[in-house]
């Protein structure tokens, strides 16, 4: 378990402000955000390398705010693996095990086998590939059986095939070792794929946290919407069309330049509308269903496997997705005029 309560940390000119987050025991959480958001500083605070000015840190049920790193039972893996170059692979993995005993050698071999690097145990670090190095770093961090594993963009410098292989190994090891993981990433897809919890960070604070699906579906700000890949985030203004119902919501109009959409709102005034690409229905003629019909000109088609991204102009650039089969069925080409339909309830106001 990892729990931070209103933690503020100053690292040089940078400040991490009022961070509160809780990852349950055995959970897998991701910290995502742009460069300079404070993700690594937060991991280093949990590991004990940075001392908080205020706030408290708990690990596995025990308050560790004042404990040094060596007494926190935390494993740490950096993006650039940081293996000890003067030691062999086996010596790196066994570093935290405290001496060469039969049990320690067995543990080293066990992790090496699980990560597919048993054949490299006698090798020098300089002769390893990037993927092999990251596997060794992971084995080294897990060897002393930490209850918490902190990963700082561990897959960022790997090619896609190696990355996927290592992700599978990591998930298997997490289940096996029952370790709580907090991983830094700048990739929201990774959060959807791996995480039970995601926290979006920017400028030293957490903007939103929750299950990845919820953060993806209901971003609480334009920044989170953009960062989680919402596709279309439009700045504009909401004006009321109807009276508020019992739940406080009312039918309204969102305008952004020449674009006007019927939406369900909770308040009027300036805001952002999020139109998820998959919620924009593409057709040659306006569909009977749906409250908003936008006439769009296709600018570019981008095929990514079974999905085709349609970049169009509706007075503003927007992106919609259809299946590649559907795009081929409609024989869509750049320059075509199509209709985009979106339900008023599918327009998310943040």
């Amino acid at each position: 378990m990892i729990r931070l309560e209103l933690v503020t940390v100053r690292a040089g000119a940078f400040t991490l402000r009022d961070i509160s987050i809780e990852v349950p025991a055995g959970g897998y959480a991701l910290l995502i955000g742009p460069t300079g958001a404070g993700k690594t500083t937060l991991l280093e605070t949990i590991a004990g390398h940075q001392a908080p000015l205020t706030g408290r840190v708990w690990l596995h049920g025990e308050e560790v705010t004042a404990l040094p790193p060596e007494r926190r039972a935390v494993g740490f893996v950096y993006q650039d693996h940081l293996l000890f170059p003067h030691l062999s692979v086996a010596e790196n993995i066994g570093y935290g095990l405290g001496g060469r005993t039969t049990d320690n050698e067995r543990r080293t071999l066990e992790l090496a086998e699980l990560l597919g690097i048993a054949h490299l145990l006698g090798r020098e670090i300089a002769r390893l590939s990037g993927g092999e190095r990251q596997r060794v770093a992971l084995a080294r961090a897990l060897a002393p059986r930490p209850s918490v594993l902190l990963l700082d963009e561990p897959f960022a410098s790997l090619d896609p095939a190696t990355r996927n292989g290592l992700r599978r190994s990591l998930l298997e090891l997490q289940r096996r070792e029952r370790v709580t993981i907090l991983q830094v990433s700048h990739d929201f897809d990774e959060a959807l794929r791996l995480g039970d919890l995601v926290a979006v960070m920017a400028d030293g604070g957490i903007l939103q946290q929750g299950p990845p699906e919820e953060v993806f579906r209901r971003p609480n700000s334009a920044f989170v919407a953009q960062f989680t890949g919402a596709g279309n985030v439009l700045a504009g203004e909401v004006s009321a069309l109807g009276v508020a119902e019992e739940d406080g919501r009312f039918l309204a109009r969102f305008t952004s330049g020449p674009l006007a959409l019927d939406v369900v709102a909770e308040r009027t005034g300036p805001c952002h509308a999020v139109l998820r690409p998959e919620d924009l229905l593409v057709s040659r003629e306006p569909l009977p269903a749906g409250r908003n019909h936008l006439t769009a000109t296709i600018e570019r088609l981008e095929r990514v496997g079974p999905v085709t991204y349609i970049h169009c102009d509706v007075g503003r650039p927007v992106v919609a997705t259809v299946t590649t089969q559907g795009a081929e069925g409609m024989a869509l080409t750049p320059g075509d005029r199509v209709s985009l339909t979106i339900k008023a309830t599918a327009v998310l106001l943040v």
């Binding site: 060596e70 940081l82 000890f84 003067h86 570093y95 935290g96």
Partner: protein, 260 residues
């Protein structure tokens, strides 16, 4: 190859050859002038043997003293931010710009019997001026800056996050230093120590003022030169040159062998 590139290469080769000649030429001339027979005469001379042994011993002591006092400072300068860090760095480098006879005079005033420190040390039985500790002090004064700067660079070359990783793997700060930082900085520290040692061996200006007797090799050579002229100084000069070069080469070779 374009003519400009060829001209640049020729210019670099020409200036480098001139520099090599400037370094090797005088030393080679000294060896040829002294001749191989004079080396035998030098080593048969008890005073020359004693002065060379004294020089090597004192230079080694000065280097060890530098390691003992300088390594913690070098580490702090590489790793820590503290008030006055730039001032401390400047003070450490100061002996490099002080002319060595001036350094000798300053040390004489600071460590002589009439000074508070020198007087106290003498009362405790540790005579500095005109004794072996005086030679070590003079050598340490001129060589420690080289050692501290080199060791600081060596520590800077080790990623501090490696120590952080070691800490999360259970090491206390000193253990992480011993198991990770020191082994990784070792080659740089040895190289810096070797340079400092060589600087100590070659020291004359500060030593001659602080401790004329017993004579280290450089003082003995100067003494023979002023009393017996060039023929008197040459054998001892050749002996010191070869011994210093020999030690230097052996340590370098050992270091290279270890790096493989």
């Amino acid at each position: 190859m374009p003519p400009r590139a060829t001209a640049t290469r020729l210019l670099i080769a020409g200036t480098s050859a001139l520099l090599m000649l400037f370094i090797v030429g005088p030393l080679l001339r000294l060896v040829l002038e002294a001749g191989p027979m004079s080396l035998g005469r030098a080593f048969a001379d008890g005073e020359v043997r004693a002065s060379i042994l004294l020089t090597l011993g004192c230079a080694t002591a000065a280097t060890l003293l530098g390691l003992l006092l300088g390594l913690p400072l070098a580490w702090a300068l590489a790793r820590r931010h503290f008030p006055g860090k730039r001032l401390v760095q400047g003070l450490v480098d100061l002996p490099v710009v002080v002319p060595h006879p001036v350094a000798g005079i300053a040390l004489l005033l600071f460590l002589g019997r009439r000074s508070a420190l020198g007087g106290t040390l003498a009362e405790l039985g540790l005579e500095i001026v005109n004794h072996v500790p005086g030679i070590v002090a003079a050598m340490a004064f001129v060589s420690i800056p080289i050692l501290v700067s080199g060791a600081r660079e060596a520590f800077l070359g080790v990623d501090p996050r490696l120590e952080k990783v070691a800490r999360t793997l259970g090491d206390a700060p000193m253990t992480a230093f011993r198991r990770v930082t020191l082994p990784l900085a070792r080659r740089g520290i040895i190289a810096a120590s070797l340079l400092a040692w060589a600087r100590a061996v070659s020291e004359f200006g500060a030593v001659v003022i602080l401790t004329y007797n017993p004579k280290v090799a450089s003082v003995l050579i100067f003494d023979r030169f002023t009393t017996d002229g060039l023929p008197g100084a040459l054998p001892a000069a050749l002996a010191l040159l070869l011994v210093a070069l020999g030690v230097f080469l052996v340590v370098r070779l050992l270091q290279r062998g270890e790096g493989r």
